[in-house]
Amino acid sequence: MHLEGSAWKFGDNIDTDVIIPARYLNTSDPAELAKHCMEGADPAFAGKVQPGDIIIGGNNFGCGSSREHAPLAIKGAGVSCVIARTFARIFYRNAFNIGLPILECPAAVEGIRTGDRVAVDAAAGKIKNLSTGAEFEAKPIPPFMREIIAAGGLIEHVKRKVAK
C-alpha cells in the first residue's frame, strides 16, 4: 500500500478533543466530522489538508476519549496515514478497526517537518522523506493487526468468523 502526501506535524499528547471536539459528536458522518478535524490544534487544518497528506504526531497521539469519531475525522479529511512516536491504546485499536494506517516510528517523527513530502509503504513499515531523502523503518505491525487490515477492517474480519 503506497501512500504519499505532505506532512503536518503536531506535538505530544494530541488528544481526541483536539482531533474532534465533542460539540461536533452529534453526528458520526466522516465528511461532517472532517470539517472540524484537528480544530483544537489548528483551526485552519481542515481547510488546508489535501488528500493523501500525512499527520506526524509525537508521544501518546490520540489520548483521551474512546470516540472512534477521532480516526474517522482524520480519515474523512483525506489523511492517508498517521505516524507518531507512540499512540494511545484505544486510538491505536480504533484506527486499525476502521482501516486508517498508523505507524509508530520515533526516528521519522524527528526526521520529518511540516510541508515535507512523505511516502509510506504501510504494510512494510517503510517511510521515506522525499524532501530530504531520509528513510525510516517503523515498528512492525503485529501479525494479528495485519490480519485485520488484510480482511479490510474488523467488521469484515468478524463477518468471516461468523460465517464459519
Binding site: A22, R23, L25, G64, S66, E68, R89, I90, I98, K161
Partner: protein, 420 residues
C-alpha cells in the same frame, strides 16, 4: 511464577490457565456498554456483520447519558437510533431518561458489573469498574459492534504497574487527589498500554466511591485498565446488588510488575490539575489566585453520594460567589433521590447552585454548562484538554468536590479549610 489480578481475570476469560504480558488473546466478555454518542456508530457496524441478534440481550448495556435529555435535533436522532435498537433487540438494560444515570455511576450501582468480570465499553472511562476487581477497559464503536455480535473480543495482555499507597489520608484528601497526584507524577502517558494496580493501606481505607474515582482516571495516564483487588469493602458493596455470580481474584505475592511505585499519602494535599492536561497538577495551596466563572460538581469521576456529601459539607449555610455559576449533577437518579432525602439538594439550591438531572453534558462541553471564550471553570470531571468544556480559549481546573465547592463560595480556587 505468579500472576497479577489483571492476568488472572484475562486468563479465565480466555479459558486458559495463564497468560503473559504482550500475548494477544481472545476472551469472552461478561458485558458490553455503549452510550448515545458511541452506540449509533456501533449499531451501524453491527448491522453490517449479518447476525440477527446480539450475543446476549442481558449483557448489552445501553445508556443515553452524553447529550441527553437531548440538546438538539441531531443528538435526538442519535438517541432514537439507540432506543430503537434496544427495543428491536429486546435489551434488558437500556436506561431511558428519567431512569438513567451517568453510565459509570449507574452500572456499579445497579449491580451490572462485578468482581472478576471482563467488560468493554465504548467509552474510555469504562475502566471505572476496575474498582470492583473487574477487568474493564474502553474501546471504540467498531470493537463494541464486534463484541455485541460475538460475546468475545481480543486483548493484548498488559503489563501491570503496582501503585502502593501508604499512610493515612489527611482531611479533605480523597481518591481524586490520589489519582491526580499519581498522574501528575507519572504523566499522561506514564502507564501507556499498561494496567494500573492500586494497593496499600490507604486504598484499604478508601471508600468504594473513592476507589471508583481512582480507577476511572487510569485512562488519563494512558492505562488500559485500573484495578483494585476486592476486599471486605468491595464485598459489602456488591453483595445483594450484583445480578450475576462473581469471582474474586487477587495478585500472587510473586506476580511480576513492570515497576512498583510507592507514595506516602499523609504528605499529599488536595490537588489541582491546571490547564490543559490532567498531569499538570499542583497542591491547592500552590494554586495562586485563580478567579473562576463556573464550577461543575458531578461526572462519572465525582458525581457519587460521597462527592455530593463532601460538597454539601462545604456549601451548607454558605452562598455561591456572586460571579460564579455552580452546577451540581448527581450521577444517577438513585443518587439524586438519596441526595434529596438527605437534604443535600436543599443545601445546594439554597447556596445558589443549579442542580441537574444526570448527564455527562458539561464534562465534554456538550451541553448544560459550556464555557465561553476566556472563561475558567473548576470541575470535578476527568479531563481539562483544550476546548474540553467549550471554547478552545476557555480553561478547566480539575479538583475534588470539596475544593470545587470551596472555590464556588470564594470565586477563586480555594482550599476547603478556608471556608469550613
Amino acid at each position: 511464577m505468579g500472576m497479577t489480578i489483571t492476568e488472572k481475570i484475562l486468563a479465565r476469560a480466555a479459558g486458559r490457565d495463564r497468560v503473559a504480558p504482550g500475548e494477544l488473546i481472545s476472551a469472552r466478555v461478561d458485558a458490553v456498554l455503549g452510550n448515545d454518542i458511541t452506540a449509533p456508530l456501533a449499531i451501524r457496524e453491527f448491522e453490517k456483520i449479518g447476525v440477527e441478534r446480539v450475543f446476549d440481550k442481558d449483557r448489552v448495556y445501553l445508556v443515553p447519558d452524553h447529550f441527553t435529555p437531548n440538546k438538539d435535533i441531531k443528538s435526538a436522532e442519535q438517541a432514537k437510533e439507540m432506543r430503537e435498537f434496544a427495543r428491536r433487540q429486546g435489551l434488558t438494560y437500556y436506561f431511558e431518561v428519567g431512569r438513567m444515570g451517568i453510565e459509570h455511576c449507574l452500572l456499579p450501582e445497579q449491580g451490572l458489573v462485578g468482581p472478576g468480570d471482563v467488560i468493554i465499553g465504548a467509552d474510555s472511562h469504562t475502566c471505572t469498574y476496575g474498582a470492583l476487581g473487574a477487568f474493564a477497559t474502553g474501546v471504540g464503536s467498531t470493537d463494541l459492534a464486534a463484541a455485541m455480535a460475538l460475546g468475545e473480543t481480543w486483548f493484548k495482555v498488559p503489563e501491570s504497574v503496582k501503585f502502593v499507597y501508604e499512610g493515612e489520608l489527611p482531611e479533605w484528601v480523597g481518591g481524586k487527589d490520589l489519582i491526580l497526584y499519581t498522574i501528575g507524577d507519572i504523566g499522561v502517558e506514564g502507564a501507556l498500554y499498561q494496567a494500573m494496580e492500586f494497593t496499600g493501606p490507604a486504598i484499604a481505607n478508601l471508600s468504594m466511591d473513592g476507589r471508583f474515582t481512582m480507577a476511572n482516571m487510569a485512562i488519563e495516564a494512558g492505562a488500559k485498565n485500573g484495578i483494585i483487588a476486592p476486599d471486605i469493602r468491595t464485598l459489602e458493596y456488591v453483595q445483594g446488588r450484583t445480578i450475576r455470580p462473581f469471582e474474586l481474584f487477587a495478585s500472587d505475592p510473586d506476580a511480576v510488575y513492570a515497576r512498583t511505585i510507592t507514595y506516602d499519602v499523609s504528605k499529599i494535599e488536595p490537588q489541582v490539575a491546571f490547564p490543559h492536561s490532567p498531569d499538570n497538577t499542583r497542591p491547592v495551596t500552590e494554586a495562586g489566585r485563580v478567579e473562576i466563572d463556573q464550577v461543575v460538581i458531578g461526572s462519572c469521576t465525582n458525581g457519587r453520594m460521597e462527592d455530593l456529601r463532601l460538597a454539601a459539607r462545604v456549601l451548607e449555610r454558605r452562598r455561591v460567589h456572586a460571579g460564579v455559576r455552580l452546577i451540581v449533577i448527581p450521577g444517577t437518579q438513585e443518587i439524586y433521590r438519596q441526595a434529596m432525602e438527605e437534604g443535600l439538594l436543599a443545601i445546594f439550591i439554597q447556596a445558589g447552585a443549579a442542580v441537574s438531572t444526570p448527564t455527562c453534558g458539561p464534562c465534554l462541553g456538550g451541553h448544560m454548562g459550556v464555557l465561553a471564550r476566556g472563561e475558567r471553570a473548576v470541575a470535578t470531571t476527568n479531563r481539562n484538554f483544550v476546548g474540553r468544556m467549550g471554547h478552545p480559549e476557555s480553561e478547566v481546573y480539575l479538583t475534588n468536590p470539596a475544593v470545587a465547592a470551596a472555590s464556588a463560595v470564594l470565586g477563586r480556587i480555594a482550599h476547603p479549610g478556608e471556608v469550613v
